[in-house]
């Protein structure tokens, strides 16, 4: 199994460079909101290990919460999710698209001249997320593409088989399909690359994390219990006094966002805001992101994050000494249905993390209310959303559920089911 990893290059945009940088980034799009995967500026499609990636400007567009935090100049963010270690991937990008990346990042402060190493510069500007979610751990881009090709081939052939022998004899249908796949594999028309061995180093680290974190939590339990009364008191006091900032976002803000939405079946979401000013909030958000990261790493890595099955990748990144938070995700459907999932399926989870964000709709006991206040929550999110100027996904037209179905189809090729009902269910997955 090849685990995915993430990178996020962040650099401050040099003064006076913002407009030309925006214009340059736009060159990657064939129309606003639709990237050209083969564009000359950054040819995403050349990177076979890249799932999703985006370029956008990190800046506070609506300045409405008075937290006395000094403003921060606009920053360029280039983030993505790839198969295998991010370090290797960054090096690969520097080799395959060095001049292009230089052209982009030369709009930023303290960029290097031509003799200096781009890899080092990129590495030194790479920021790790505080929490990271991967829909399906170890499903590589190559696997996604091979399984999609398999499904397409099976889909075409199933039509022929049904036309010839009808739909009653499931075993005969399956037999014909599997022999067809074998012929295609033998002739090289299809490939199904077996999963690579899991890197030992990653595996060891992962196991240590998996068992280490609960042990640490257990060891700290007495401290938590001792601190609980203070925590609750402080939380309830803040909950009753924290200001909300949930007015309807200004129209010009909406008009920045909507033109680049809903082109593919999947959308990018980038949101950025301040953490509430109290130290208490900064520690609380760190703590819950740490827990979230643990849950995403070890529990929610098989197709769903709690009840939500439509997120491909998501990350939460604390910036500026835990004073600001960036949330970036890739979700299926329109924003209205994404927010619907947030509110109706996982409001409690959002509250745990985002209620520490300045302006969030007021919560009770950390998990109640908050996102359940539908309209306020939707306004809150929209106000903090940033336009994702350039966004790439290696498999347009495919939802996380589509990828999952393709994997289940592949499983039925790798391992033959015995039971008739299972064979029928497998056949039902294939589009005819």
């Amino acid at each position: 199994m090849t685990p995915q990893s993430t990178f996020m290059i962040v650099a401050t945009v040099a003064e006076g460079q913002l407009d030309s940088l925006r214009a340059l980034l736009e060159e990657m799009n064939s129309e606003p909101g639709v990237v050209d995967p083969h564009n000359a500026l950054f040819p995403f499609a050349r990177f076979e290990r890249l799932h999703v990636a985006r370029f956008f400007i990190l800046e506070q567009l609506i300045d409405d919460v008075n937290t006395d935090l000094p403003g921060s100049p606009p920053r360029l963010v280039f983030l993505g999710d790839c198969d295998g270690p991010a370090d290797n991937f960054i090096a690969e990008m520097a080799v395959l698209a060095g001049p292009q990346l230089r052209r982009i990042f030369e709009h930023c402060d303290d960029f290097i001249d031509e003799r200096e190493s781009l890899v080092n510069w990129l590495q030194s500007h790479n920021i790790k997320p505080s929490a990271n979610y991967i829909n399906w751990l170890g499903r590589t881009v190559v696997q996604v593409r091979e399984e999609e090709a398999l499904h397409r081939a099976l889909s075409g052939h199933l039509k022929l088989v049904v036309a010839q022998i009808g739909r009653d004899d499931t075993r005969a249908i399956r037999h014909q399909l599997l022999s067809f796949v074998k012929r295609q594999l033998d002739s090289g028309l299809l490939t199904l690359t077996p999963s690579a061995p899991t890197p030992v180093c990653w595996w060891v680290k992962n196991m240590l994390h998996k068992f280490g974190v609960p042990l640490i939590l257990l060891a700290l339990l007495p401290v938590f219990l001792l601190m609980a009364p203070y925590f609750i008191f402080r939380l309830r006091t803040l909950e009753s006094s924290d200001p909300e900032s949930v007015e309807r976002p200004p129209r010009e803000h909406i008009q920045r966002l909507t033109p680049i939405e809903d082109h593919d079946v999947t959308n990018p979401f980038s949101a950025y805001g301040e953490v509430k000013p109290q130290l208490f909030r900064r520690y609380t958000v760190r703590f819950f992101l740490w827990l979230l990261d643990y849950a995403a790493r070890h529990v929610y890595n098989r197709g769903h994050l709690t009840r939500v099955q439509t997120i491909h990748f998501a990350r939460w990144v604390l910036l500026d000494d835990n004073k600001r938070l960036l949330f970036a995700s890739n979700y299926d459907g329109s924003l209205e249905s994404y927010m619907d999932d947030f509110i109706n399926k996982v409001a409690w989870g959002l509250n745990l993390v985002f209620s520490n964000g300045a302006g969030y709709p007021s919560t009770r006991w950390l998990i109640k209310d908050g996102a359940e206040q539908e309209q306020k929550f939707k306004h809150f999110l929209r106000r903090r959303q940033l336009p994702t100027q350039v966004w790439y996904k290696a498999y347009p037209g495919k939802t996380a559920f589509d990828l999952d179905r393709n994997s289940r189809i592949r499983e039925g090729v790798d391992v033959r089911q015995d039971n008739d009902e299972e064979i029928r269910q497998w056949l039902a997955l294939i589009q005819v």
Partner: protein, 511 residues
């Protein structure tokens, strides 16, 4: 907060409560205001029907609703206008991004609309006339008096057809509607409504009342100290210092959907290779009901709240899709399942605290695709549309020279949130190419058949089959074309008087 739960029927336009089913004739006038003073005078005195029950049942009815352009033409303050929802202010057709989300592209493109697509054909208001059979022309004459003539230009007059609740493709229509909790007896607690219920909070239909989230949808609230005329408006329940312009009003979404009846039946016939039984079966599968309206799934084991348990409506409506999770009886992509998937807040099987907790944490899914569809109660619409044009039998439609696009539906629905109700249903459910986990299809009836940006086609319809491979229909042409549309606000009666009341002195002389 003092709360009198008696419905204020006298202040609600009748259409919110009644479909005017006994008034078989209906005519919709899309009007432009050409003289504001005259328009105000006419509208102030207009006999707009309220939702009170009357014996005998009135022989005519009149309802009125305004677009944002209409409110501006009536010189409503910008501040007041800003209190309406973003979708209403922006309008159905003026934003290409909204059009993309609603599927109003290609042959549905706004540029081709006969009304609502450009400033010249965008109405200021919608006047809805209803009358007993044979009385429409007389009623129309009374409505269009000499003040009317000076006040308005008629942009387009939309006639309708008394079709006995059979829509143009030949299917029984208007069967399923949410029941409204007028007395506000039902809890809106987010944690008490696991199963699908057909009983909907008043705030999902009317502004000014708690919605399914137990909250008040944003609407214009006016400070009566700054605007004395606002004193005639009801108090806002959630802020007694302010007066509620939205209370007892709804947003009204109207779309003219032309139906290509010959294309529909000829396609079914071609797929069925002339077999009339198969033809009916396929068409019924796409709609999700047989032509007489009977559902394709069995009656629900436990009675569904908000639906009668006996008689015809029980037969036609006491069902959900809990026992047909894969769509083998009623395809997941069928029209009625997309528009009303009858899901609860949790998938079936949540019986106690433990099962609920397991589900909340995202575990216990019973099959792939379980828990993909949103909870239905946040996305209901109250339909009030009427068919128009020529009625055509299947036999007539099958003739090669049958005239195309001669009829359709003036789709009308009432909601309190256009984005969460109408637009969500249209975007995520009706035309969603991945609805409920299906593969690249859109609504078999409403879909525009446009490919995804990835190039994948969506002109398919699949019927899952218990035997294994699904039955799939390909290369479906569009059967429905959007030819017009707009978002309106249908005010409560007092709000209507406020909106058209003009200056303060005028009010005083009137009262």
């Amino acid at each position: 907060m003092s709360k009198d739960n008696n419905p204020e029927y006298h202040d609600i336009q009748a259409l919110a409560r009644f479909g005017h089913g006994s008034l078989k004739e209906a005519r919709f006038l899309l009007l432009e205001i050409i003289n504001v003073d005259m328009a105000r005078e006419w509208l102030y005195a207009a006999p707009v029907s309220s939702a009170e029950t009357r014996k005998p049942v009135p022989e005519t009815a009149l309802q009125v609703a305004f677009t944002i352009e209409g409110l501006r033409a009536l010189q409503v303050d910008d501040e007041v206008i800003d209190g309406f929802s973003e979708e209403f202010i922006s309008g159905m057709a003026s934003d290409a991004n909204r059009s993309r989300r609603l599927g109003d592209v290609a042959h549905n493109a706004v540029a081709n609309w006969t009304w609502g697509g450009d400033p010249e054909t965008t109405p200021h208001l919608l006047l809805m006339l209803y009358a007993k059979t044979g009385q429409m022309d007389d009623w129309n004459k009374i409505v269009e008096d000499h003040i009317f003539d000076q006040a308005f230009d008629i942009i387009i007059e939309l006639d309708t057809l008394d079709n006995n609740n059979i829509e143009p493709f030949g299917f029984a229509d208007g069967i399923s509607q949410p029941a409204i909790d007028w007395e506000r007896e039902q809890s809106t607690d987010l944690h008490r409504r696991d199963r699908f219920s057909n009983l909907l909070s008043l705030g999902e239909l009317l502004l000014g009342y708690p919605n399914e989230y137990g909250q008040y949808t944003q609407r214009p609230l006016i400070n009566p100290e700054a605007d004395e005329r606002a004193a005639q408006l009801p108090e806002a329940e959630d802020n007694q210092q302010l007066r509620d312009l939205g209370r007892n009003g709804s947003y009204l979404v109207m779309r003219q959907l032309a139906q290509d009846v010959p294309a529909f039946w000829q396609f079914m016939d071609q797929e069925a290779e002339g077999d009339s039984k198969l033809r009916e079966q396929l068409a019924g599968s796409m709609v999700g009901r047989k032509r007489d309206g009977s559902p394709l799934v069995d009656k629900a084991k436990q009675p569904i709240e908000g639906i009668k348990t006996e008689g015809k409506s029980a037969e036609l409506n006491q069902f959900n899709f809990d026992n047909d999770p894969h769509g083998q009886q009623c395809p997941i992509g069928s029209h009625i399942r997309r528009s009303n998937p009858r899901t609860g807040d949790f998938p079936p099987g949540v019986t106690g605290l433990l099962t609920r907790l397991i589900r909340i944490l995202g575990f216990g899914r019973k099959h792939a695709g379980d828990d993909l569809i949103a909870s239905t109660r946040f996305h209901r619409i109250l339909r009030r549309g009427r068919s128009y044009g020529r009625q055509m039998s299947v036999e007539q439609a099958l003739k090669p020279d049958a005239p195309r696009m001669t009829g359709g539906l003036h789709f009308i629905c009432l909601v309190s949130s256009i984005s969460r109700q109408f637009e969500f249903v249209q975007n995520a459910w009706a035309i969603g190419s991945k609805f409920g986990g299906i593969q690249n299809e859109s609504d078999p009836i409403l879909g525009n058949r446009e490919p995804l940006t990835s190039g994948d086609s969506t002109n398919h319809f699949s019927q899952p089959d218990a035997r294994g491979p699904a039955q799939c229909t390909h290369d479906m042409p569009p059967f429905v074309t959007v030819q017009g549309g707009a978002y309106f606000f249908m005010p409560g009666i007092r709000a209507l008087r406020y909106l058209v009341g003009g200056s303060k002195t005028q009010d005083e002389t009137e009262s």
